[in-house]
Amino acid sequence: MKITVDGKVLEVEEGISVLEACLQNGIFIPNLCFLKERERPHASCRLCFVQVEGMPTPTTSCTLPVKDGMVIHTNTPEVRRLQKTAFKLIMSGHPCHAKTCPVGKNCTLMKIAKFLGVGLGPKPYERLDREMPDLIDFGFMYYSPYRCVLCAKCIHVCKTQNGKPLLTFARRGFETIVAFFQDPLENTEEKCINCRACTNICPTGALVLKDTENVEREDEAQTA
């Protein structure tokens, strides 16, 4: 089937989302929570908006199945406004410490900032503080709430690996975080160290293994 994106006609397979179709064809749409394998898109980051002709408002492209003849615009002013607001909101709770961040140069957030032509700060919004420690000890790894963008990728891969997720969401509103539940009857730690699916997939370095290198880095971050 064929869809038109920003004037370009693309031949795409049935059953995939507009986001996937665009990414496959080298058209970038900002996204943080999209995972191809997920049966139902999580659709939480609210960055992947596009405008479909005939629809009244922009729609998230990760939730939008391709339809033959669909005409899509990825860069209308309305789309960009929503994307920029969503991005700034995320950054208002995610202070960037580039020097100490375990993600380093390969940062998705930086890529999105560049693409949208905005900085890494939250202006005009203020920086938000959480009443929470910068690091939470998950036993063999650390979780840092301020880095986490709650994309739920870690929760998904954990469930896929284990049948049941050891990671899950906790709390509500702005205080929402990812929590870790160890089954006391199982030696989760050993299993987890061998698995590491969550730390591998986390796009923001919010979940990091506790090897010495990381611990030092985090200590620096704390004192910095």
Binding site: R46, F49, A86, L89, P124, E126, G173, F174
Partner: protein, 644 residues
């Protein structure tokens, strides 16, 4: 139909036997609202007085009549003496004893405590002379407060379950057709056409279908669904069974919040009774149709009222909304086609079947047929539950039916639709209440919460209150709602503290618009409504807060001050001194009192206690308007000087 007739005539026979002794019947409201007003104690007092005096009368617990401002209510029905059934209001235990003694011993119905007679008669003005009774139109709440919710026979006596019996002889598609033609729209908030939803469910290939009744009711201040379940659970069950038959489901779940223990007990009992009568369960009324109804107790999160979050919660997961489509009717509970309907939607169904789609269409408006039920709270005389025809104006509802604003205050705004609704000013009082008009005005039908506010309400503070609620109840999933509403809340908080900046107003507006467009579920999409409507209709109040650091309603503590007018203060009166929790009041020249602004915490106690003949305490905004009176050294507060 034959089986139904048998069940009904047995019920009537039982009731006849019960009433054979012609004993007077005392009905007492026993819903959660009445219990909160002391109905249990009143009932005990009645039992005692009957026992003491050797009087015979039957006490029957009924649900809520909707007149919550007058709870507990009592209806005494004693046809033998020639009185009509009489309704008494605010019946405290002592009043109950007095009423019973004079009614039963002296044959005097105690006119001073009478609200009205429940029937036309020559002796006592009937309740229908009050607009609060006569201007209501009851379809869903017709029997609420009048029948015993714990006795299915009472419902059967009112032709209950006759609609279910009659549709079992129709094709399911015919039932869907009737509901479709009636124009019934979902009462859970969004107003989606119910017939369309049911038809959509029937079209699904998967025939393992489920019906869920949504009784989560998380809006602060709303309690219609709870009341309906507590007052007439069988009408809901009948609607639920009709829905299940129409869409082809053999399983139904009633999702009630666990904070509603009485509703949970009542509905459980009703299900059990209906099963014993063969009205629910296997082979309903002798037909091939079977339905298993269970009750699921939700943990009470507001967002769990959203249908996809509700389904997640029944599946044992965290109640987080999912992107739609797929809609629950396509892929809902355990992946099965699921019809989710609100309590009021389902309870509207039996009367529609009995009286027909055209009858239903004749009530209400073209686009929103039928009635709307509101729980009206706030600054209004006759608060409580009201059922009115759609299309009634806000003015009629607030002023004519509910008696207007108490204490001679002026109307300021009405907040409709709970945290997802908007605040409408006086100019909108002539708006008809229906789904489309309210949405157009920027509010929402919502599930029926309505808060009336008088001139003392600060609209910035009201917006802040609702945002605090939504931020706390946001499931935390998506960016706009989780983080965006936090910013809105912070800004509103700042403004009410007098720390607002001019650019804040623009940020509020833009961000609110983006949250509305960008959020994943209805919670986030509607959360900005209180902000957007108050910005639109009460911009002058925002500007006063931001530019002049003034709260026009004199509500926001940081922006007001209290002072004592030395002209008016009575020499030597000391009443306010003791009321102040922080010893801020001292004696100034001429034994008059003054307030130490440094210490004052602005609780307003002194204003409340100052005797009306002096009325010397004033409240002003901005606080600089309060005249400063020097506190003499010999008048320093004891506590502060003693401690340090």
């Amino acid at each position: 139909m034959k089986r139904y007739q048998e069940i009904k005539s047995e019920a009537l026979k039982r009731l006849e036997q019960e009433r054979a002794d012609n004993a007077p019947i005392i009905r007492i409201t026993m819903s959660t609202c009445a219990r909160a007003a002391g109905a249990e104690e009143t009932r005990k007092a009645i039992e005692e007085v009957l026992e003491e005096r050797g009087l015979t009368a039957k006490i029957v617990n009924v649900g809520c009549l909707g007149h919550c401002y007058a709870e507990p209510l009592l209806i005494i029905d004693n046809p033998a003496v020639g009185f009509p059934p009489i309704c008494y209001y605010e019946v405290t235990p002592n009043k109950a004893k007095l009423i019973c003694r004079s009614y039963f011993e002296d044959g005097d119905p105690s006119f001073e405590y009478v609200l009205g007679a429940m029937e036309e008669n020559d002796l006592i003005p009937p309740v229908t002379t009050f607009p609060r009774f006569s201007m209501e139109q009851r379809i869903v709440m017709e029997h609420c407060g009048l029948i015993d919710p714990w006795n299915i026979d009472h419902y059967l006596e009112k032709d209950g379950y006759a609609s279910l019996a009659s549709i079992l002889e129709m094709q399911p598609d015919e039932v869907v057709e009737i509901i479709d033609r009636s124009g019934l729209r979902g009462r859970g908030g969004a107003g989606f056409p119910t017939g369309k939803k049911w038809r959509f469910a029937r079209l699904q290939e998967n025939t393992k279908r489920v019906v869920i009744c949504n009784a989560d009711e998380g809006d602060p201040g709303a309690y219609m669904d709870r009341t309906i379940i507590e007052s007439n659970p069988h009408q809901l069950l009948e609607g639920l069974a009709i829905c299940a038959y129409a869409v082809g489901a053999d399983e139904a779940i009633i999702y009630v919040r666990a904070e509603y223990p009485l509703a949970v007990q009542t509905i459980r009992h009703a299900i059990k009774q209906a099963e014993e009568y063969g009205i629910l369960g296997e082979n309903i009324l002798g037909s091939d149709f079977s339905l298993h109804v269970t009750v699921f107790q939700g943990s009470g999160a507001f967002v769990c009222g959203e249908e996809t979050a509700l389904i997640q919660s029944v599946e044992g997961k965290r109640g987080m909304p999912q992107h739609r489509p797929p809609y629950p009717v396509e892929k809902g509970l355990w992946g099965r086609p699921t019809v989710v309907n609100n309590v009021k939607t389902l309870a509207s169904v039996p009367p529609i079947i009995r009286k027909g789609a055209d009858w239903f269409r004749s009530i209400g408006t073209e686009g929103s047929p039928g009635t709307a039920i509101f729980s009206i709270v706030g600054n209004v005389k006759h608060a409580g539950l009201v059922e009115i025809a759609m299309g009634t104006t806000l003015r009629t509802l607030i002023f004519d039916i509910c008696g207007g604003i108490p204490n001679k205050k002026k109307f300021k705004a009405v907040q409709i639709g709970g945290p997802s609704g908007g605040c409408l000013p006086e100019d909108f009082l002539d708006t008809p209440i229906d789904f489309d008009s309210l949405t157009k005005a920027g509010a929402m039908m919502g599930s029926g919460g309505m808060v009336v506010m008088d001139e003392d309400s600060c609209m910035v503070d009201v917006a802040r209150y609702f945002l605090e609620f939504t931020q706390k109840e946001s499931c935390g999933k998506c960016t706009f709602c989780r983080i965006g509403t936090k910013h809105l809340l912070n800004i509103l908080d700042r403004i009410t503290k007098g720390e607002g900046k001019e650019e804040d107003l623009e940020i509020l507006q833009q961000l609110a618009e983006d949250i509305k467009k960008g959020s994943l579920c209805g919670l986030g999409k509607t959360a900005p409504n209180p902000v957007l409507t108050s910005l639109k209709y009460f911009m002058d109040e925002y500007i006063a807060h931001v530019k002049e650091k003034r709260c026009p309603a004199l509500k926001c503590r940081a922006l007001i001050a209290y002072y004592i007018d030395l002209e008016k203060c009575a020499r030597g009166c000391e009443v306010c001194v003791g009321s102040c929790p922080v010893e801020a009041i001292f004696t100034a020249k001429g034994r008059k009192k003054a307030i130490d602004q440094e210490l004052c915490v602005k609780c307003g106690e002194c204003m409340a206690v100052c005797p009306p003949e002096y009325d010397a305490v004033f409240k002003v905004s901005p606080p600089e308007l309060a005249p400063i009176v020097e506190r003499p050294p010999d008048q320093q507060p004891k506590k502060a000087s003693g401690e340090k």
